[in-house]
C-alpha cells in the first residue's frame, strides 16, 4: 500500500488544518496570561471563512504580481509541508528538498510578499518590504551555518537523515554544538515568523510593522490566503525546530499506527512550542528595528560556535 504517500497527505492535512488552531492557541495563551478570556480555539477558522466571502481588492497601478503573491506564499509553504519530515521521515518526496532548499523556499515566500508590498505603490508597503528583507537577509547566515553544524555529524543536509540520526543517538542532542545551534535557530524562528521582540503581529502602528505592512492592501480571499500561508510558515518553522532538537515521536517507518502517533506527537510538540513562544512574548516588548541586527548577529555567533564546538569538543 502506498503508506508513504498517505503519510505525506496526512502531514499536509495536519499542517494546514492545525495552522489556524496554533494561531488561536497562541492568542488564547496570551489572553489567559493577561487575565482575559480570549476568542476560543476555532476563531481563526471563522475569520478565514468570513474573509473568503468578502470582496477582494487591488490598489490602482498594481500588477499581476500583487494578486499572485499570496498564492506563491501559500504554495511554497505547502511544498515545504509536503517534503519536510514532520510526521514521518519516509516521505517519497524526501530527496527533492534538503535543509538548504527548504530555507530557500521559505525565502521565496518572503520575497513574494516583499514584491507585493512594493507593487502596492504605497509607502507602507515599501517600508514593510524593505524591513522584511533586511531581517531575512541577516537571518540567512545563521540558518545556513546552524544547518552546517547539524549536518556535519550526519554527513548530509537531508532533513530526514538529520531527524533519524538525532533519534538514534539522543546523547548528541545534549552536546554543546546542538544546544548552541538550538539557541541560534530559536532566535531565527522568532525573527522569520515575525514575533516579539522582532515584530509585533498585533500592532496598529504602521511605522512599527514589518510583516503586517506588506499585507495592508490585501482584502477578501487574498487576505485569507496570506494569513493561512503565514500561519503555515509558523507551524513549519516551529515543527522543524521541534523535530530537529526533540525528534522523538517522528515515524521512521510507514505503518498506520506509527503515522497516527507521529501526527499526534507533532501536533503536541508544535502546540507546546507555540505556547512557550506566546508566553515569552507576554514578558517582552518589541525592540526597535536597529537592535534586531544585533540580535541576529548574536545568533550568527552562536551558529559559528556550534560548528567549531562540534569539532574541537567532539
Amino acid at each position: 500500500m502506498a503508506w508513504p504517500v498517505a503519510g505525506v497527505v496526512l502531514q499536509v492535512f495536519v499542517v494546514v488544518a492545525g495552522a489556524p488552531v496554533l494561531i488561536a492557541l497562541m492568542r488564547q495563551v496570551r489572553a489567559r496570561l493577561e487575565g482575559r478570556v480570549g476568542a476560543g480555539l476555532s476563531q481563526p477558522w471563522r475569520d478565514l471563512r468570513k474573509q473568503l466571502a468578502k470582496e477582494p481588492m487591488a490598489p490602482d497601478g498594481s500588477t499581476v504580481l500583487f494578486t499572485t503573491a499570496p498564492v506563491v506564499v501559500l504554495s511554497s509553504a505547502l511544498l515545504i509541508a509536503a517534503t519536510a519530515p514532520f510526521v514521518s521521515t519516509t516521505s517519497p518526496l524526501d530527496g527533492m528538498a534538503d535543509l538548504y532548499a527548504v530555507v530557500a523556499l521559505l525565502l521565496v515566500g518572503s520575497t513574494a510578499l516583499a514584491l507585493a508590498g512594493l507593487d502596492t505603490g504605497s509607502a507602507f508597503g515599501g517600508m514593510g518590504s524593505s524591513r522584511t528583507l533586511t531581517v531575512a537577509a541577516l537571518a540567512e547566515p545563521t540558518l545556513l551555518v546552524a544547518g552546517f553544524a547539524l549536518s556535519v555529524r550526519v554527513g548530509s543536509s537531508n532533513l530526514a537523515s538529520l531527524v533519524e540520526h538525532a533519534q538514534r543517538a539522543p546523547s548528541t542532542i545534549f552536546s554543546p554544538a546542538t544546544l548552541l545551534a538550538a539557541v541560534a535557530l530559536w532566535i531565527v524562528v522568532v525573527a522569520e515568523t515575525g514575533r516579539l521582540p522582532v515584530d509585533n503581529p498585533a500592532t496598529h502602528l504602521e511605522l512599527t510593522m514589518i510583516h503586517e505592512a506588506t499585507i495592508l492592501e490585501y482584502a477578501g480571499r487574498d487576505l485569507a490566503v496570506v494569513e493561512l500561508g503565514s500561519a503555515i510558515r509558523l507551524v513549519i518553522l516551529l515543527g522543524l525546530w521541534g523535530n530537529l532538537f526533540l525528534p522523538w515521536g517522528v515515524a521512521t517507518t510507514s505503518t498506520p499506527g506509527l503515522l497516527a502517533l507521529g501526527a499526534i506527537v507533532f501536533a503536541a510538540k508544535v502546540a507546546v512550542l507555540g505556547s512557550v513562544l506566546a508566553a515569552s512574548e507576554v514578558l517582552m516588548a518589541k525592540w526597535r528595528l536597529f537592535r534586531v541586527p544585533e540580535l541576529l548577529a548574536g545568533s550568527f555567533l552562536f551558529g559559528v560556535l556550534a560548528v567549531s564546538s562540534s569539532f574541537f569538543l567532539a
Binding site: L52, A53, P56, M57, A58, P59, G61, S62, T63, L65, V71, V72, S75, L78, G95, M96, A97, D98, Y100, A101, A104, L105, L107, T111, A114, L118, T120, G121, S122, A123, G125, G126, S129, S130, R131, L133, T134, A137, A139, P141, L143, L144, V145, G147, S151, V152, V154, G155, S156, S157, L216, E217, A224, V225, P293, F300, V307, S308, F311, F312
Partner: protein, 688 residues
C-alpha cells in the same frame, strides 16, 4: 577540418568582414551588419566550443604571423567551455545590438555626424571584440595569448568610449579602465614571461611539462602575479574599481559582453595557470583565492545593495558573483591540494556551473537595463517605476533575470549555489579531528556565502520592484515604450537559456564535468548523478530543481482553484491605494531605491560610509519658513577612495621627481646614455 577549426575560421572571417563593413555609408546598414557579424562570431564560438566540450581537440600554428615568435592555437575542454560561453553571449548580444541604436535627432539644416552607438568605430569594434574574446582561450603559447589579450583590451576600450561625446564620465571611465587593464597586463606578462624563461619555450605544452621542476618560490610568485592580473580582469576586490565605472558607461550590449563574457576570461586565466600549467600547487594559494573571493562577494553585494544606478548595481553584482565563483575555485583547490578529489570535483563543478549561470542571467539583466535606458533615458532607479504596464516583455525578462540572480528556487542561480554549499558543508569529516585551517575557514566561508545570498535577494527585489512595479516616479518613466523586436529576441534567447539551466541543469552539468579532467589535481570524475534530481556521488545529498518548480507551480494552481471554489465569487475591485485617508498618495511618495536600501545601509554603515548632503532653502522673507529641502545620499566605493588616492599621489610624486631628470640639457642626456651603456656592459660581463 574539424568542427572546432570550422567554428574558429568562421569567427576570424566575421572579424575580418567587420573591418570592411566600417566603410558602408548608412548607419542603419552598418548597425544591422555589425550585429549580424557578432552573431556569426557567436555562432562560430558556440560550434567550436560545443565540439571541444564533447571531446575533440584541435591545434594550429601560424609560423610567420607574429614577430620573434609564432602564433599557436590549442583547444582543449577547458578552452572549449569558455569559447562556448563567450560565443553564446555574443550570439544573444549580436541580435540585441541590431535594434539598439536610435535614430539620431536631426537639427534644422544640419546633418548630425554619426557618433555614439552609430559611429563606424563602435560598430566595427563590436564583432572584433567578440572575436578577440572567443580566441583568447584558444591561445596555445605566451605571445599569442598576450597579443589576443591586449587586442581584447584595446577594442573593449574603444567600445567603452563609444558615447564619450555625450557625457564626461565616459572619458573618466575609459581612463580608469585603460590604466587598470594595462596594470593587470603587466602582472600577467611578468608571470608568463617567468614561466616561459624557466621552461625555455613559449608553448603552453612545454611550460606544463617543465613547471613541476620549478622551485616552489618561483611557482608561488608566478601564481600570485597571475592571480593579481587575472583577478583584476575578473573584478575581484581590491582591483575591481574599473568595473563599476566602465560597465555603466558603455552601451548596454557592450556591458553585457564585458560582464558576462570578458570577466570569465579572468577565471579562465586562473584555472589555466593555477590548475593546468602549474599543476595545482600548495594549499595556501587556494586559501588566498578563497579569501579574496569571499571578500569580493561580500563587498560586491553590499555595494550593489546600496546602489541606485541600475547599471552600477549590475556591475557590482558581477563582482559578487565572480567572488562566489572564486570561493568555489579556492575551496576546490584547497581540497585538491590535500588529495580530497571528490570534494574538489564537486566544488569546481559548482564554480563552473555558476559561471555559466552568471553569464546567462547577467546578459539578460544588462540587456534589460539597456532596454529601459533606451526607452526612458533613465539609469536611476529612484526615478523609474511602473514599467510593467508600459514595457511588459522587458519586465517579464528582467523578472526572470532577477529571480536567477537572487539565487532563489526555481531560478538557475540557486542550483549552482546549492552545489557550492553542499561542497562546503561536506568539507569537515564526520569523525576524527579536522584540519584546523579548514575547520576555521569553511564555516566562515559558509557564513559569507549565506550573507551574500541574503543580501543578493534584497538587492534584486529592490532593482526589480522599485524599477518596474507600482507607478512611475517620473515623467520619463511614464512615457516609456516597449523596445523593438530584435532587442526582445535577444532578451528572449538569454531568458530561455536561464530557464533551461534552471529546470534541466543535468545536461549542462554533464558537459561541464568533462572539463574537470583537464585539471590534473582533480581528475576525471562525475560529481553529480541522477535524472530528474541532482544526486551527489561519494557524499550524500540530493535536490531536484525541476520537481521544486513543478511543486511550486502545481501548489499555486491548486491553491487558486480551491480558494476560488470556496470564495464568494465577488469580482476584484480596483481602488485607490490606502494612504491613511489623507491627501492622495502621489507616485513620488512611493518607496525609492535609496529608501529601500536604507536599513541595510545603516547596518553596514562601517563598510559603506554613505555621505549625506542636506540643502535647506528658506524663504527670503523669513528664516523660520522652509521653502524646499534637498537631500542627497551618495555611497562611493570606499575601497577606491581609501586605497587608490595614496597610490595615485605617490605615482604623481615620483613623476614630478622624474621631471627633474629631464631638464633640457643635451649634455646631461648624452651622459645618461653613456652611463647606461657602461652599466649594461658591466652587467653582461659579470653574468656571462
Amino acid at each position: 577540418m574539424t568542427l572546432v577549426g570550422a567554428g574558429l575560421l568562421l569567427v576570424s572571417c566575421a572579424a575580418g568582414l567587420a573591418l570592411l563593413m566600417a566603410m558602408a555609408p548608412s548607419a542603419r546598414t552598418r548597425g544591422f551588419v555589425s550585429g549580424a557579424l557578432t552573431c556569426l562570431v557567436g555562432l562560430g564560438g558556440v560550434l567550436a566550443g560545443s565540439a571541444a566540450l564533447l571531446g575533440s581537440t584541435w591545434s594550429a600554428t601560424a609560423t610567420h604571423l607574429l614577430p620573434l615568435s609564432q602564433g599557436e592555437l590549442t583547444v582543449d575542454r577547458l578552452s572549449g567551455l569558455f569559447v562556448f560561453l563567450v560565443g553564446a553571449v555574443a550570439l544573444a548580444t549580436g541580435v540585441y545590438s541590431m535594434g539598439y541604436p536610435q535614430a539620431p535627432r536631426h537639427v534644422e539644416g544640419m546633418v548630425q555626424p554619426a557618433h555614439g552607438t552609430t559611429s563606424r568605430t563602435a560598430q566595427a569594434a563590436l564583432p572584433l571584440f567578440a572575436a578577440a574574446m572567443v580566441l583568447v582561450p584558444t591561445a596555445g603559447n605566451v605571445t599569442t595569448f598576450l597579443v589576443l589579450w591586449e587586442l581584447m583590451a584595446l577594442v573593449s576600450l574603444a567600445l567603452v568610449l563609444t558615447e564619450h561625446r555625450s557625457r564626461p564620465e565616459v572619458g573618466q571611465a575609459g581612463i580608469w579602465y585603460a590604466a587598470m587593464t594595462h596594470a593587470g597586463l603587466v602582472a600577467i606578462l611578468l608571470a608568463l614571461v617567468i614561466l616561459s624563461t624557466e621552461a625555455g619555450s613559449e608553448s603552453f605544452a612545454e611550460i606544463r611539462d617543465t613547471a613541476p621542476a620549478l622551485s616552489s618560490g618561483t611557482q608561488s610568485l608566478v601564481f600570485v602575479l597571475s592571480f593579481v592580473g587575472f583577478g583584476s580582469k575578473a573584478g575581484l576586490v581590491p582591483l575591481h574599481v574599473w568595473l563599476p565605472r566602465a560597465h555603466p558607461e558603455a552601451p548596454s550590449y557592450v556591458s553585457a559582453l564585458m560582464s558576462a563574457a570578458m570577466v570569465n576570461l579572468g577565471l579562465y586565466g586562473v584555472l589555466r595557470v593555477g590548475f593546468d600549467l602549474l599543476g595545482g600547487g600548495p594549499r595556501w594559494w587556494w586559501l588566498l583565492v578563497l579569501g579574496v573571493g569571499a571578500l569580493s562577494a561580500l563587498y560586491g553585494v553590499l555595494q550593489a545593495m546600496a546602489a541606485t544606478d541600475l547599471k552600477r548595481l549590475l556591475a557590482y553584482s558581477t563582482t559578487e558573483n565572480l567572488g562566489l565563483i572564486f570561493v568555489g575555485v579556492g575551496a576546490a583547490g584547497t581540497f585538491a591540494a590535500t588529495g580530497q578529489r571528490t570534494l574538489a570535483g564537486l566544488l569546481m563543478l559548482a564554480a563552473v556551473l555558476h559561471t555559466v549561470n552568471h553569464a546567462a542571467f547577467k546578459t539578460l539583466l544588462f540587456m534589460g537595463a539597456g532596454a529601459v535606458l533606451r526607452s526612458t533615458h533613465l539609469r536611476d532607479l529612484d526615478a523609474m517605476g511602473g514599467l510593467a504596464r508600459r514595457m511588459p516583455f522587458t519586465t517579464a525578462f528582467v523578472g526572470i533575470g532577477a529571480l536567477a540572480a537572487s539565487g532563489l528556487p526555481p531560478g538557475n542561480g540557486f542550483v549552482s549555489e546549492w552545489l557550492l554549499l553542499q561542497g562546503l558543508i561536506h568539507s569537515l569529516p564526520v569523525s576524527g579531528t579536522p584540519d584546523v585551517a579548514v575547520a576555521i575557514v569553511m564555516p566562515l566561508a559558509v557564513g559569507a556565502v549565506a550573507l551574500t545570498a541574503g543580501l543578493g535577494v534584497a538587492t534584486f527585489v529592490k532593482a526589480f520592484g522599485v524599477g518596474f512595479l507600482a507607478r512611475p516616479r517620473s515623467a520619463e518613466a511614464a512615457a516609456a515604450a516597449e523596445v523593438p523586436g530584435t532587442m526582445r529576441v535577444g532578451m528572449a534567447a538569454a531568458a530561455v537559456a536561464c530557464g533551461l539551466l534552471a529546470l534541466a541543469p543535468l545536461a549542462p552539468v554533464r558537459a561541464l564535468e568533462s572539463v574537470l579532467g583537464v585539471m590534473p589535481s582533480i581528475g576525471d570524475r562525475r560529481p553529480v548523478q541522477g535524472a530528474v534530481e541532482l544526486r551527489l556521488s561519494g557524499i550524500t545529498g540530493s535536490m531536484s530543481p525541476l520537481l521544486i518548480a513543478l511543486g511550486l507551480a502545481g501548489g499555486a494552481v491548486l491553491a487558486t482553484v480551491v480558494v476560488r471554489g470556496l470564495g464568494s465569487g465577488r469580482p476584484r475591485r480596483t481602488a485607490l491605494v490606502w494612504g491613511c485617508g489623507g491627501t492622495r498618495l502621489s507616485p513620488r511618495m512611493q518607496y525609492t531605491a535609496t529608501a529601500y536600501a536604507e536599513p541595510l545601509t545603516r547596518v553596514f554603515d562601517d563598510v559603506l560610509r554613505p555621505e549625506h548632503d542636506v540643502d535647506v532653502t528658506h524663504y527670503q522673507e523669513s528664516r523660520y519658513l522652509v521653502e524646499s529641502v534637498r537631500y542627497r545620499q551618495r555611497v562611493s566605493d570606499r575601497l577606491e577612495t581609501r586605497l587608490y588616492p595614496p597610490l595615485l599621489a605617490a605615482a604623481n610624486r615620483w613623476g614630478q621627481m622624474a621631471r627633474r631628470l629631464q631638464d633640457g640639457s643635451v649634455h646631461r642626456y648624452l651622459a645618461y646614455g653613456l652611463v647606461g651603456l657602461l652599466l649594461v656592459l658591466m652587467a653582461l660581463g659579470v653574468t656571462a
